[in-house]
């Protein structure tokens, strides 16, 4: 199978500090891939590098056979990559509808059935009621729904989700994760960065575990054992029991 998005020896960092040491991951259309790892393992950095926020060489990121690494974020959007950023990063002082409108007005060319306000409202019905509310007056879960909806409306082929369950009540997390299959059903590839390992395992088909800027484990989510994850998560010297 041909990967929709793949990284090749991806190295990136902040100034002189290198945070990623040659990352190789890939994802197919309609697939959900989870990225797990401890704080500081480089998961968010990887998403930022793919999104074009951090500088990388062109051939380090391939999208549909084209080298796209190092493009500015707004050009990555046009190429078909979107991110649900860590901490949601909604446009404060603007309503739910305006936040979504920004994405609609700067979207990529849709491939397949396009995402519309109606589809986003069908996915998260509460947003229809709150359309005119300023985003800062929403609950954390509702804000996360706006953030996901906003990123869908740029019509991505690959959606990078950075810790979408962080700080939310378990019930809200279930509600948000229940919406994910409807997103991938249309062929969108989903990369989930997730702190909750068992949630990540259940929600994904494959997973990658990262440690100190390297991929230490990869495989089908249903086949990987907790012992394998522990070893990959904490390093080879840490063994449970």
């Amino acid at each position: 199978m041909n990967a929709l998005l793949s990284t090749h020896g991806l190295k990136a960092g902040y100034g002189d500090m290198r945070a990623l040491h040659g990352i190789e991951i890939s994802i197919e259309a309609g697939e959900t891939v989870a990225l797990i790892g401890a704080n500081g393992a480089g998961k968010s950095t990887l998403l930022k590098a793919i999104m074009g926020v951090l500088p990388v060489a062109p051939e380090m990121i391939m999208l549909d056979g084209k080298a796209v690494g190092g493009k500015s974020p707004h050009l990555m959007v046009k190429a078909g990559v979107a991110i649900v950023p860590e901490g949601r990063r909604l446009f404060l002082g603007m309503s739910v509808e305006e936040n979504l409108q920004i994405a609609i007005e700067h979207a990529a060319e849709p491939i397949g059935e396009p995402w519309t306000l109606e589809r986003v409202f069908a996915l998260f019905p509460i947003l229809r009621e709150k359309a005119r509310t300023l985003v800062e007056n929403l609950s954390g879960g509702q804000q996360q729904m706006v953030s996901i909806g906003r990123s869908l409306l740029v019509q991505p082929r690959v959606l990078l989700c950075d810790e979408i369950s962080l700080g939310l009540a378990p019930k809200v997390v279930r509600e948000i994760y229940a919406a994910l299959p409807a997103i991938t059903a249309g062929g969108v590839a989903l990369v989930l960065v997730e702190q909750d390992v068992s949630l990540a395992q259940r929600a994904s088909q494959r997973l990658y575990c990262m440690l100190e800027g390297r991929v230490t484990l990869q495989g089908a989510s249903s086949d990987i054992t907790r012992e394998q994850i522990s070893a990959a998560y904490f390093g080879a010297n840490h063994v449970l029991d």
Binding site: H74, V77, G93, I102, H106
Partner: protein
């Protein structure tokens, strides 16, 4: 009546300050750039206008109509060539860059136009006034005020009801997030500065018609714009308009208390607002 006249004249003066302040509020609101060349750009445009009038014999309104696109072009180039390189979380690089450019511009203008004061002939309209009761309202200042109001309303409309305005506000709220939603920040910034300096085309023509301009006048215009923006609340469009009115009225009342006190009165009100309500009168939602 003496004091009412003071307030009316102050509001009319505020119209001119509002035209200075609008572009500054826009640039600060969107990019957090304090453009130190703001006043020099007014003077530059005014001098270009005066020279154009001398060369071509165009009337003041044609000059105004020419200065606005010239201003917009200057703004676009300024942003693309200089400010996009220094804009960022740290306000210092843009402050230093525009400060340096301000000095360079003033010297270049001195070289080209000499230190003479000049003005643009507005024809009969310059002296015309409308009697209202026992007050006289100058026609030109009234046009300036109407222009400022329309420009401010137009800008507020642009910010809230257009694609470009929404992109501006998104970039203002979180520029990195805006870029991740497909907004090209450099393009939005260049357009914002083009609009800001384009508006100065109005201010330049009116300034040259109402009084005189000389190459070293820029910093005064900068201070008025800056004070209006601070009084109103940094980055707020209607706040800048209100701040300009308050500054105009303060100066006008000050002049009537003592002719030497006018400008100082404006500064004192500015300092008082800074002490009592440092976030400005219109606190920006954030």
């Amino acid at each position: 009546m003496y004091w009412i006249d003071g307030i009316v004249q102050g509001i009319l003066l505020g119209g001119l300050y509002a035209q200075y302040a609008l572009g500054m509020a826009l640039m600060f609101g969107v990019m957090k750039i304090v453009n130190v060349t703001h006043g020099d750009l007014v003077i530059l445009l005014a001098l270009i206008g005066i020279s154009l009038a001398d060369l071509t014999g165009l009337g003041p309104w044609s000059i105004l109509a020419t200065l606005v696109p010239i201003g917009a072009a200057i703004g676009w180039i300024l942003q693309r060539a200089l400010l996009n390189r220094v804009v960022g979380d740290d306000p210092l690089p843009s402050l230093i860059a525009t400060f340096g450019l301000s000095i360079a511009l003033q010297n270049a203008m001195l070289q080209i136009w000499s230190a003479d004061t000049r003005s643009l002939s507005g024809g009969a309209i310059q002296q015309a006034s409308i009697p209202v009761g026992s007050l006289y309202i100058g026609v030109l200042p009234l046009i300036v005020l109407i222009c400022a109001t329309v420009l401010t309303a137009g800008m507020a409309f642009l910010m809230h009801y257009t694609r470009f305005g929404r992109a501006l506000r998104a970039a203002s709220a979180d520029v990195e997030a805006a870029a991740m939603m497909g907004v090209n920040p450099r393009r939005v910034y260049a357009l914002a500065t083009a609009i800001a300096v384009g508006i100065l085309g109005f201010a330049a023509a009116f300034q040259a018609m109402r009084s005189t301009v000389a190459p070293s006048d820029g910093p005064f215009q900068l201070i008025y714009a800056f004070e209006a923006v601070i009084i109103g609340g940094l980055g707020s469009i209607w706040g800048a308009f209100t701040g300009a009115m308050i500054l105009g009225i303060s100066q006008s009342i000050g002049f009537r208390i003592n002719p030497g006190f006018g400008i100082l009165a404006g500064h004192l009100v500015f300092l008082a607002v800074l002490a009592v309500r440092p976030q400005g009168i219109f606190k920006r939602k954030s």
